[in-house]
Symmetry: D2
Subunit: 333 residues, 4 copies
C-alpha cells in the first residue's frame, strides 16, 4: 500500500524531499525528472530510482503522486497537468505569483478532484505545531494578538530577488500562512510598511528588504509580522500568540546550545544559518503528512486554497504600502 | 549644595518620588502639598518634612525644585506657575492631553528659562539604558528596526480610562518616548490598528485595549509597538533593537527567578505584576538624574519637548486608526 | 515600639546594616561605635545618630539591640558582654573560628536568655527563600539531593586569607548553612576534596582555593558543594534541590539582563561582581527579620546554634581533606 | 571503498546502529545476526540485508567490520573472536564488568592489531563536543573544575539492575568517560558517596540509586559527578567545565522548546524522556566516526583502553563507598 512517488525538480529542495520520501516507510521514490540530467541522475544514483522525463512520469502507471520542486513559473502548469492525469500533487510554494493564475489552477484542481497540498513547511515545525496545539487545547484562552518574527541571515542573490515577486510574495508569504494557521479567524485587513535598509540594489529592483505588517480580523484580533533580509546572528524565526488567558511562544533554534562564560559575559552560539537546517524536521514531517493524506488520513492541508489565501494577503500588503493605507482583503479577493 | 524639594501630590506616585528624593544624598524634601491633608501628613510624618499649601511652596524661599504628581489636568498650570516662580520642575507625564495646551505651556517654560524634566521613567530603567548604551557604542551598527512590547497585567478602572485620553495618550505614550529614545532619528509616519478584545466596556467608553503601531523615519527605520491591557503572566515590558551588525534586547523582569521542574515541565514564576515594582530602580534613577541636572549636570532630559513629541505621535495614532491610513507626523505638528 | 539600635563596627558591612536599620520603619539607629573614629562619624553624619564607645552602648538605656560588624576575633566577647547586658544581638558570621570558643559563647547566651541571631544573609535572599518555600510546599516531594555552587569572582587579599580560618570556615561555611537550610535533616557525614588551582600563594599559606564537599544525612540525602576562589564571569551563586517529585533551582543574578546578538553569538553581561550587590536584598531582609523577632515574631533564626553547626561541618571538612576519608559529624560534635 | 558491516544483536540499540550504518554514504549493512530470528529478520526486511549466524559473519569475506550490540556478558568473547578473524570491531559499552576480563580481551586486541572502538556515545553529542572544542581552543584557559549531572527519568527494571554491575559500572561509567574526555589529565583519586532514595528494592539488590563522585587529578583538577535514577522532568544531562579564564557548559535538551505563560508562570515542556531520543545525533555520529577511522581517519577513539579506564574508575568508586575513603586509582590499576 506504499505511495509511489515521482519527483519533479532535483535541485536543493528536491533533494530534501527525495530524502523525506525514501525515508518514509509508507512511500517509495520511483522516478525523478529534471531539466539538468546530471542533477536527476545524482538523486537516482543515491536512492536507486529511475530518471524519466516529466511526460513519462505523467503517463506512468507506477506513480501515484508527484512532488513539484521546479521553478515557480512552472508550478501552476504542472499542477494542472498532473491533476488531470489523476496524480496527487505536493507543490512547493507558491502555486504562482499571479492571483488570477492561481485561481485558474485551483479551478482545475477542484474539477479534477485532485489532491493538492502546498509546501508551507513551517506548519510542520515541531515547535510551531506545539504552539498551535496549546491554542487548540485552550491553554491561552481566545487568541487576541500574534507576533511573528522572521529574519533571513542575508538577502538572496539579486537575480533571485528579480523573479521572486517581491518580499511580500516571496518571504512574508510564509508568515501570512503562519498567521492564518494561528489566528483562528479570517484576516479582514492588511496594513504594511516597507523600506530598503539592507541593500540599495534591492530598492533599485523595486523591492523592499525590511517590512512590518499588521493583520486584523473581523472580531479585532491582530497579528504583527516583522521581516528583514538581514540578521547577522542567524535565521531568526519566532512566534508569540497572546490570548485571553495567557500566551505561548516558540523561541529560536540553534544547532549547538552550549554557553561560554568569561569576563566578557555569557555567550551562546548563533542560530541556524540556513532555512534547511532550521526546518529539517519540518520538511520530513510535511511529506509524511502528505503521505498520510494519500493513505486516507483526511484532506490535504495546507491546501491550494491556503496557498491562494496567503498570496492574497501578500497582494494586499503590496497595495497597502503603495497607497499608504489599510487595505480590506475583500477589495482584492 | 543640596537641592531642596517641594512635592506636589502625595498619592501613589508621590510616595515613590518622596522616597527617591529623601534617599538621594544630593537632595532634601522640605515640604509636601496635597488636596487631601491626611495624605500629605503621612508623607510629612514618614520623612520629617512640612505640610504646606501649593501657594506656600510657590512662594517659599527654601525650595529650589518641585516634583509634580498631581492629577493630569493640573500639570500644565502648575508647570507654568512654578516656572514663573523660578523653581525647577519635574513633572509626571503627560504635561497635558491637549497638544495645544502643551505647546502653550512649553512656551512659558522657554520664556522663563525654567528647567523642566518630564517623567518618562522607562528611559532610566537599567536594562533599557543598557540597550541604548549598546546602540551608542555601535555594537549593533546602524539601527534598522525596533520592537517594543508593553502589556499591562490588567485594565485600569473604568473611571481612569474615561479621563486617560485613550490608550495611545495614556499607555502607548511611554512606548512612543522609548521609540524616540532608541530610533536615533525623528519619526516621520505613524500607522496604527486598534481593537477592543479585553473588556467591551472600554469600547463603549470610546477607547481601545489592544493596539499595534508602526512608526517609520525618513530613512526607512521602522518601529513596531504592541500594547494590550491584559497579560495574565504579569507586566510584559520588552524591547528589541535590530541594526546592521546585530541586535540588542531587554527581556522581562521577575521578582523571583527560581525554576521548578516536574513531570509537568519547567516553570518560572510570573513577572512583576505592577509597574511600580517593575520600575523601582527607574523611578529612583530619574529623580537622581533630575537632581544631577540641577547640580550642573547638563540639560534636563527627557525635556518638555520630548513630552510634546510623544503626545504628537499619540495624536497621529488616533488619527491613523480613525482614518485607516498612514499619517505623516507633519500633518499634525 | 521601635527597636533602638547600636551599631558596632562602621566598616563595609556596618554601612550595609546601618542603611538597613535606618530604612526599616520598625527600627532606629541610636549610636555607632568603631575603633576608627572617622568611620563611626561618617555613619553618624549620614544617618543622624550618635558616636559612642562600645562601653557606652553597653551601658545605654536607650539601646535595645546591637549589630556586631567588628573583626571576627571580637565577636564572641562582644556577644557575651551584650548578652549579659540584656541587649539583643545580631552578629555577623562567624561567632568564632574555634568550635570550643563558640560553644562557650553560646552557653552564656543560653544562660542569659539573650536573643542572638547570626548573619547567614543568604537565607534571606528572595530567590533562595523561594526555593525553600517550594520545598516546604511539597512541590518537589521529599528532598533527595542538593547541589550548591559558590564561586567568588577572585581571591581575597592574602592577609585576609591568613586570618580567615581557611576556605571551609570562611567561604564554604555559607554553603554549609545553606545545605542545612535546604536538606531538612541533620548532616551525618562530610567528605571533602581540596586543591590549589587559583594562586600558589594560597597554598603556601596553608589554605585551598578550590574545593568540593559531599554531605550526607542518616536517611541518605546528599548535598554537593562546589567552591572556587575564581570566576571570571562574576559572582557565581546557584542552588539546585532535587526531590522525589521534581526539582527547584535558583539561577545566577546579573545587574543588567540585556542580550546582544551578533555574528559572534548571543551574549548576556557578566553576573554581579561583588557579594554586596548580589545580596543587597538579603542584607535588608535579614535585619528586618531580626527586628521582627524582637517585636515578637518568634525565635531568632538563624540562631547561634546554626552558627555552631555550620562551623562544625567546616571542621569536619578540614579533617576529611587531611585524612582522605569520610568524617562522621559525631566524631567532632 | 564502502565499509561492509555485520550487525551482532538486533535489539533496541542494534536498530539504532542499523539505521546509522545504512544512512552513512561510506558504509553498507551486509548481514545481521541475533539469537531471536524474528528480530534479525525485521532489520533484514527493513534495510535489505541478509540474516546470518555469528559464525557465518565471522567467516564472511564480504564483511569488514562488526557492530556488537549483544548482551554485555558476550562482548569480550565476541571482540576476541572478531579481532582474531581480522574484522574491525565497534562494541557497545562495557567490554565486560570484570576488570581482569577486560584486560585479557584488550591483550588479544593488541596482539591481533585489530581496530576496536567502544560505544561511549556521549562523546559524539554535538553539544558536548562543542564544550570540548571550546576547551581545546583555549577559551576557558586551563581546566580546573568539571561538574557532570546525569539523572535518568526512572530506574530500569529490577532484573536489569541485577545484572548491570551496579550503578557505578552501568550508569556512572558514561560520566567517568566524559570526565576523562574533559579533564585533560589522568584521574588520580576517586571519592564517592552512595545511597538508596528512589526504590528500596534497589538497595535490597545490593545497589544504589543516588550517588556523588569526586575525581581529582595529580595537579588538583576536580570533577564532581552527580547521578540519580530518578528525574520526573526528563533525562537530565548537563556538563560544566570551569577553567582559569572562564567556563563552558552544555544545558539540557528538550524535544519541543515552546514556552507557555499564564497566571501560574512561564512553563517549558519536560526534557527528552529517553536516552535514545536525547542522543539521536550522537549515535549516528559515533558510527560515522568509526567508519571514518576504518577509511583511514586515524586511530579508533574512544578505544578499548578508554573502556578499561572508565571501568577502573567505577571499581574505585565501589571501593570508596565500601571503605568510606578516598581511593587512589593506582591501588586498583
Amino acid at each position: 500500500m506504499s505511495v509511489r512517488f515521482g519527483l519533479l525538480g532535483a535541485g536543493r529542495i528536491g533533494k530534501v524531499h527525495a530524502r523525506a520520501v525514501t525515508g518514509d516507510p509508507g512511500a517509495s521514490l520511483v522516478a525523478v525528472a529534471d531539466a539538468v540530467p546530471a542533477a536527476a541522475q545524482a538523486i537516482a544514483d543515491q536512492y536507486g530510482c529511475a530518471v524519466r522525463t516529466v511526460e513519462a512520469i505523467l503517463a506512468a502507471g507506477d506513480i501515484d503522486a508527484v512532488v513539484i520542486c521546479t521553478p515557480t513559473d512552472t508550478h501552476a502548469d504542472l499542477i494542472e497537468r498532473f491533476a488531470r492525469a489523476g496524480k496527487a500533487v505536493f507543490c512547493e510554494k507558491p502555486i504562482d505569483l499571479s492571483l488570477d493564475r492561481v485561481k485558474a489552477c485551483l479551478k482545475v484542481v477542484r474539477e479534477t478532484r485532485a489532491t493538492l497540498m502546498v509546501g508551507f513547511n513551517r506548519r510542520f515545525d515541531p515547535h510551531f505545531r506545539a504552539v498551535r496545539a496549546e491554542i487548540d487545547k485552550g491553554t491561552i484562552g481566545a487568541v487576541e494578538m500574534v507576533t511573528i518574527t522572521s529574519r533571513d541571515p542575508g538577502p538572496p542573490p539579486m537575480d533571485y530577488i528579480a523573479r521572486s515577486g517581491g518580499i511580500f510574495r516571496d518571504m512574508t508569504i510564509h508568515d501570512f500562512d503562519m498567521a492564518r494557521f494561528l489566528l483562528g479567524e479570517d484576516v479582514a485587513t492588511v496594513t504594511a510598511t516597507a523600506s530598503v535598509l539592507v541593500d540599495p540594489a534591492i530598492g533599485k529592483a523595486g523591492d523592499f528588504d525590511s517590512v512590518n505588517v499588521i493583520l486584523t480580523t473581523a472580531s479585532g484580533r491582530q497579528c504583527v509580522i516583522t521581516n528583514s533580509r538581514r540578521a547577522t546572528y542567524g535565521y531568526d524565526q519566532r512566534i508569540e500568540v497572546h490570548g485571553s488567558r495567557g500566551a505561548v511562544s516558540a523561541e529560536n533554534q540553534r544547532p549547538v546550545s552550549i554557553e561560554v562564560a568569561t569576563s566578557a559575559g555569557y555567550t551562546r552560539p548563533p542560530l541556524h544559518d540556513f532555512f534547511m537546517t532550521r526546518y529539517t524536521e519540518a520538511y520530513a514531517a510535511e511529506i509524511a503528512a502528505f503521505i498520510a493524506t494519500l493513505s486516507g488520513g483526511g484532506p490535504a492541508s495546507p491546501s491550494g486554497e491556503d496557498g491562494l489565501a496567503a498570496l492574497l494577503l501578500a497582494d494586499c500588503a503590496v497595495k497597502s504600502v503603495a497607497e499608504g493605507r489599510t487595505v480590506r482583503v475583500s477589495e482584492l479577493a
